[in-house]
């Protein structure tokens, strides 16, 4: 089983098996908040993917090259959040300046991402719990972002459809979105770890 299998493994893990939203409970606020229509859902999904990839990279370097050697693991929260917040702000400014079109498509979702716990959550997960290599961490960050994208895209399609169904009044809007997400999560239990193990070893 070579590198290829490992890459596939990480991708499948973070997109399906440990989907940030449907199994890990990370990033639910934007998932519920921005899934009303598909356009913004897709925009949010890509923005999250982008930031998550960069954030895992920077925080990994910070953690393994600075905090661990200096014995300062306890400062991870404060330093990670600083890095992520600055990163988001920097990216926002950069995109705004250099590509107004991209900014219109993605940038407007960026401010929401600082407080999206999926970004920070994945960053913590890969360095602290999973203890992955740099490459794998970045890949995991990227895959988790794609997992977010997939979940929010599916959700937005369901919600757009529900918009014109005859959902009972009391359950319209956020409640039915939660229930739908619950049913989605139940179905996603089909993607168990054993499946992954049997597939890619």
């Amino acid at each position: 089983m070579g590198v290829f299998a490992e890459i596939i493994g990480i991708l499948v893990t973070y997109v399906l098996v440990s989907n940030v939203i449907l199994t890990q409970f990370l990033g639910l606020c934007p998932f519920i908040g921005v899934s009303k229509n598909s356009e913004s859902a897709i925009g949010m999904g890509f923005a999250v993917t982008f930031v998550m990839t960069l954030a895992t990279m920077f925080t990994w370097m910070l953690y393994n090259w600075l905090l661990v050697p200096a014995g300062l693991e306890f400062l991870k929260v404060i330093s990670f959040i600083l890095v992520i917040a600055s990163l988001v702000q920097f990216v926002e400014m950069f995109v705004k300046k250099n590509s107004p079109a991209l900014y219109r498509a993605l940038g407007i979702y960026l401010p929401l991402i600082t407080t999206n716990c999926a970004v920070m959550g994945i960053a913590l997960l890969v360095v602290e719990v999973e203890k992955m290599s740099l490459f794998n961490s970045v890949l995991a960050g990227f895959s988790a972002g794609i997992g977010f994208l997939v979940a929010i895209l599916l959700m937005s399609a369901i919600r757009e459809q529900l918009e014109i169904e005859f959902v009972p009044k009391g359950l319209k809007g956020a409640p039915i979105a939660f229930i739908s997400a619950g049913l989605m999560a139940m179905a996603f239990m089909a993607f168990d770890k054993a499946l992954l193990m049997n597939l890619v070893g």
């Binding site: 606020c29 934007p30 908040g33 921005v34 009303k36 913004s40 925009g43 949010m44 600075l66 200096a70 014995g71 300062l72 400062l75 404060i78 330093s79 600083l82 890095v83 600055s86 702000q89 920097f90 400014m93 950069f94 705004k96 300046k97 407007i108 979702y109 401010p111 929401l112 407080t115």
Partner: protein, 274 residues
């Protein structure tokens, strides 16, 4: 002990440095990458709650602020902000409610199941616009309320409900005067009246009195008693139909009493809750 102090020292240095570097980079970047922005957007953004929750349907508070200023989005989309916020936004943007009297909608027809005559047996969607496609509705009178509640469906504040005769009725306390019901109503029986209106002529038929009588027992027969007997009360009969001139303030209770078909009524009453 020494090692602890050393540890704390290292911590201070590294995080302090990290903070300083990031601060410097960001502030440099913000100058280098500055983009001119509409000041009003910034201002509006400041008074929004900054939850960036997306409840408004936009990408965070700044997205919403932008939409309000540049795309004329309604200012009441931020639910977390509540009424206080609404007030401060309207102050900021100078969108005043104005001091015109509030208008509310009301149905000008009382021809319910018992009082009006049917023309045919309808089978189809329970919706006024759909029913209207077939000979303008199943009532013999073509001016009346069809009672299928298209207006109920569009009213954003649930101000419309059925009364005990299964005709719709607007609760003027809830109505915010958006006129959506007026737009959707195919027979134009839903009309706007001032909030303070005390009586309405609950009929819209422009047919001759005799014809009206054959179709509905509570229709306005244009007998003109309201005009002739009470010249001060502000009633006008035009096109076989009486109506009220609300600019005239007067006691209209006796007129209501005198109306032979009793179609001059209060625009407020109890409705079934449903």
């Amino acid at each position: 002990m020494g090692s602890i102090i050393l540890g704390i020292f290292i911590a201070i240095i590294s995080i302090g440095l990290l903070g300083a570097i990031l601060g410097a980079v960001l502030s440099l970047a913000s100058e280098k990458l500055k983009v001119e922005e509409d000041l009003r957007v910034k201002e509006l953004e400041q008074i929004l709650p900054q939850y960036n929750c997306g409840a408004c349907g936009f990408s965070g508070c700044s997205g919403y602020a932008n939409a309000v200023i540049n795309e004329g989005e309604a200012i009441n989309k931020c639910t977390p902000g509540g009424p206080e916020l609404l007030e401060s936004i309207s102050k900021l943007l100078g969108v005043e409610a104005g001091n015109l009297e509030k208008m509310v909608a009301q149905v000008h027809c009382r021809g319910g199941e018992k009082s009006s005559v049917d023309q045919y047996k309808y089978s189809g969607i329970s919706d006024c616009n759909a029913k209207y496609q077939l000979y303008s509705g199943d009532k013999l009178c073509k001016f009346g309320c069809l009672g299928d509640g298209s207006c109920i469906k569009v009213c954003p504040v649930n101000a419309i409900s059925y009364d005990e005769e299964n005709l719709v009725w607007v609760d003027k306390e809830k109505c915010v005067g958006c006129e959506k019901c007026v737009d959707i109503c195919p027979t134009n029986v839903m009309k706007m009246i001032p909030y303070s209106a005390d009586y309405i002529v609950a009929c819209s038929s422009q047919e001759k009195g005799k014809v009206v009588k054959s179709k509905c027992s509570v229709g306005c027969i244009a007998c003109s008693i309201c005009v002739k007997k009470f010249p001060e009360a502000g009633f006008v009969v035009d096109k076989n139909l009486s109506s009220v001139d609300y600019t005239i303030k007067s006691d209209r209770a006796p007129v209501s009493e005198a109306c032979p078909v009793k179609c001059i009524i209060h625009p407020y009453k109890e409705t079934k809750d449903n």
